[in-house]
């Protein structure tokens, strides 16, 4: 335990089988909480979820990203012994993170009433795709469903992809964007409840979390505009192809446009006095973008971004995965720690997207082997059985 970490001394029990709850546990672990993952005899299904690091039988990259720094016990919560063992863990825990479907909770001893009766000081965090209450509480939802139930899915793609492929289906964001929002919201909710000092049930829905981060579309609707992916592109700028990759260019303020004109080399078309007016630029966005695209096609990304930012023009490289982890800025900040797994060279893993001083949060341990921390249960399986039957 690192006493200087924000959540040192906080104990968490996690019964997670999907990304949102597992990510909530991961964020708490990254900040110093002791997180014990309780796995069923068949093990946490995230251990088998692609992408895998080394072929289909190997380690899941997804699980590694979600379970680093956690401990593991294997328990069958369908048995009285298993439920007694998890009760012992919960007796000294501050937070339970659970995503068991509502209908399965009573048989696992994880229903709200039982937990509240036995562990009144516990923060019992439930994270489900559509929450624990309301008409859709029992609904199933994987990443693609909750992203599209939260509103952002229907708004994607925008920009260049929407122009190139106007008739294709709406798009999901890469990876587990929506489920990870649920995890961040869950961790925040658990820490807020813990701050209150009251043991209580906390109900987090992945859909709600995505509706919340989609607040701007709700704001726009109130202002009178129903957003749609085909019409919410920026008038100019956006995703721009260069000689060796893509950049994002976005000028929202006058001085940024002026900087862009300088970056372009002040060609005649850009210095046209009419384009000094923001409304004119917006109206002639397609024409401006055609010029920018012609010019950018011959520019190397790295040099272009450096020159743009020096002129105060907001521009960024669309970094590929290996460029992200090897970026000079990321290396200087130590954004990625080294994850050490048996038989694999060190791999880059970000501990958390925030830090509590100049240094990043430490990566304390790789993901646990199944049942690595069985000793936390206070004895071997036989002892557990005797206690349960006594």
């Amino acid at each position: 335990m690192e006493p200087s970490l924000p959540l040192s001394g906080v104990r968490v029990v996690e019964t997670a089988s999907a990304v949102a709850a597992a990510y909530a546990g991961r964020l708490l672990a990254a900040m110093g909480a002791e997180v014990v993952l309780v796995e069923p005899p068949g093990l946490c299904p995230l251990r088998r979820e692609a992408p895998m690091l080394d072929g289909p039988s190997g380690t899941s990259a997804l699980f590694a990203s979600l379970a680093a720094g956690k401990r593991s016990v294997v328990l069958d919560l369908g048995t009285a012994d298993g439920r007694a063992a998890v009760d012992r863990l919960l007796a000294t825990a501050d937070i339970l993170v659970d995503d068991t479907p509502l209908t399965e909770r009573p048989a696992q001893g994880l229903d709200r009433e039982r937990i509240a009766a036995r562990h009144p000081r516990l923060v019992h965090l439930s994270i489900l795709p559509f929450g624990a209450e309301g008409p859709k509480a029992g609904w199933k939802g994987t990443e693609i469903n909750v992203l599209h139930a939260g509103g952002e899915g229907a708004l994607l793609p925008n920009g260049l992809s929407a122009t190139l492929f106007p008739d294709r289906p709406p798009l999901k964001i890469a990876g587990h964007f929506a489920e990870r929002q649920g995890g961040v919201a869950g961790a925040l909710a658990a820490l807020a409840a813990l701050w209150s000092g009251e043991g209580q049930f906390v109900d987090v829905s992945v859909q709600d979390a995505n509706v919340a981060v989609g607040a701007f579309a709700v704001q726009r609707l109130g202002d009178g505009s129903l957003e749609h992916r085909s019409t919410r592109s920026f008038r100019y700028g956006g995703v721009i192809e260069c000689a060796d990759g893509h950049v994002e260019l976005l000028t929202l303020e006058e001085r940024q446009w002026t900087g862009l004109v300088t970056l372009l080399g002040s060609p005649d078309w850009a210095t046209d006095p009419a384009l000094g007016d923001a409304a004119q630029r917006s109206a002639r966005g397609a024409e401006i973008n055609a010029r920018i695209r012609d010019w950018a096609r011959h520019q190397p990304v790295e040099d272009l971004v450096r020159r743009a930012q020096a002129l105060g023009v907001p521009m960024a490289r669309y970094a590929e995965p290996d460029q992200v982890v090897s970026g000079g800025h990321e290396r200087a900040r130590g954004t990625f720690a080294e994850l050490r797994l048996p038989g694999v060279p060190p791999l880059p893993l970000q501990t958390a997207p925030f830090r509590f001083g100049p240094d990043p949060l430490p990566l304390t341990a790789p993901p646990p082997e199944p049942g690595a921390d069985q000793a936390l249960l206070g004895g071997d399986a036989a002892t557990v059985a005797r206690r349960a039957s006594a």
Partner: protein
């Protein structure tokens, strides 16, 4: 009582990401005092050319619930006044470019000098350190830097811009880090400087792809495909621009889907007998599902699929969301009052508490300086004559 009742935030944040952080904390019960000035009002008080808004917003989500004061931070006495406010606060939040608070005389060390256990939260595009820390950025740039934009898109298409969900995701992470820092302060008595870099929020969302790529298993753009699930995608219903999201990850879900489709032949087809087989045959399954969904009403099909145990949902637009009984019941969507008295929908904080009072929006967008009597008078103990002097000197301005 709300969970964060008693926590006070001096809020210097502007634009979207930082204000969303403090807005969430305010919904959870923190008292949030927004600091602006007549010279530098936040963006929602101005016309918005990009979105064609001719005047100030009549309701701004991320400004709601907040108290408003004017402090001219370009004036030495304004800096002193801001420090007095920080001295009676638990949290100081800001979202300027790295270095701006220090140049104003309000850097972490300066704030710590007036409030030794202050939790300072800095939200920026690239963080407080590193060679790019001075870079300007907006949501699409955060997504680009962090790799999320590169990985999002159709297989044969370009990267995709992230929009406001990216900003607000940064804010949600910042809110989490803020409460964690408060827990540390409660335990150790120590405050701290929380550094939230938006580009690192973007990269944190694709951790598995960064790991796999580094391990020699490159991950590319993959549209709506999943690594395991199939069928998996968005399929147009007979309702036109109403698409059904559908995801099958097990034999049980596959068999349930074929029952809803009334296609026992598919259930018996060896090409689709196992999940790996279905994944290998995903293009054929996409065509089958596209054909079937084109004959279905979107909401009815989704209800039937969910009843059978198949993960599905209509790809909802914002109007669907603000009118949904489930989201209304949960307080994920709430009704608020605009300046002028009209009502509209806004988002709630995404969490419900069994014992604490639930998050809520108590008031809409504050007028600039609306709460100076309370903040400068009651909290800081400035008499009316002193407040008048500071106003005349363009400090409260």
């Amino acid at each position: 009582m709300k969970p964060l009742a008693g926590v006070r935030i001096a809020d210097f944040t502007v634009h979207a990401a930082g204000p969303f952080c403090t807005h969430m904390l305010s919904q959870l019960g923190a008292e949030c005092i927004k600091i602006e000035s007549a010279q530098r009002p936040d963006i929602f008080r101005k016309p918005h050319t990009v979105y064609g808004r001719p005047g100030p917003a009549t309701f701004d989500q991320v400004a709601s619930n907040k108290l408003s004061v004017r402090i001219n931070l370009k004036h030495p006495e304004g800096v002193a006044l801001a420090k007095r406010l920080v001295a009676v606060s638990d949290v100081a939040a800001e979202s300027f470019r790295a270095g701006v608070m220090e140049r104003l005389g309000l850097g972490y060390e300066a704030l710590r000098a007036v409030k030794p256990d202050i939790v300072m939260v800095s939200v920026s595009s690239c963080g407080q350190t590193g060679p790019d820390s001075h870079f300007a950025g907006y949501a699409p740039l955060f997504g680009a830097w962090g790799g999320l934009g590169y990985l999002t898109g159709y297989r044969d298409g370009p990267p995709v811009e992230m929009r406001h969900v990216m900003d607000h995701s940064v804010g949600l992470n910042a809110a989490l880090a803020t409460v964690a820092a408060l827990h540390r302060r409660r335990r150790t008595g120590q405050g701290g400087h929380v550094d939230v870099a938006a580009r690192e929020v973007a990269s944190s969302l694709i951790g598995e792809a960064l790991l796999a790529t580094a391990a020699g298993v490159p991950i590319a753009r993959m549209g709506n495909e999943d690594h395991w699930r199939a069928p998996h995608g968005l399929y147009r219903s007979r309702d036109g621009d109403r698409w059904i999201s559908l995801s099958v990850g097990s034999d049980a879900e596959w068999h349930a889907l074929t029952r809803v489709m009334a296609r026992p032949d598919l259930a018996a087809d060896p090409h689709f007998a196992t999940q790996p087989a279905r994944h290998a045959a995903r293009d054929a399954l996409d065509r089958l599902l596209a054909d079937w969904c084109a004959t279905q009403g979107a909401e009815a099909a989704v209800a039937a699929l969910q009843a059978a145990g198949v993960p599905a949902h209509v790809s909802w637009n914002t109007r669907d969301i603000v009118t949904d009984p489930h989201l209304r019941q949960r307080g994920a969507i709430v009704e608020v009052t605009e300046t002028g008295g009209a009502t509209r929908a806004a988002v709630g904080a995404p969490m419900r508490f069994g014992a604490s009072d639930n998050p809520s929006i108590e008031r809409g967008t504050p007028e600039l300086g609306e709460h100076e009597g309370y903040v400068f008078g009651e909290l800081l103990g400035l008499g009316t004559a002193e407040q008048r002097r500071l106003a005349d000197a363009a400090v409260i301005h």
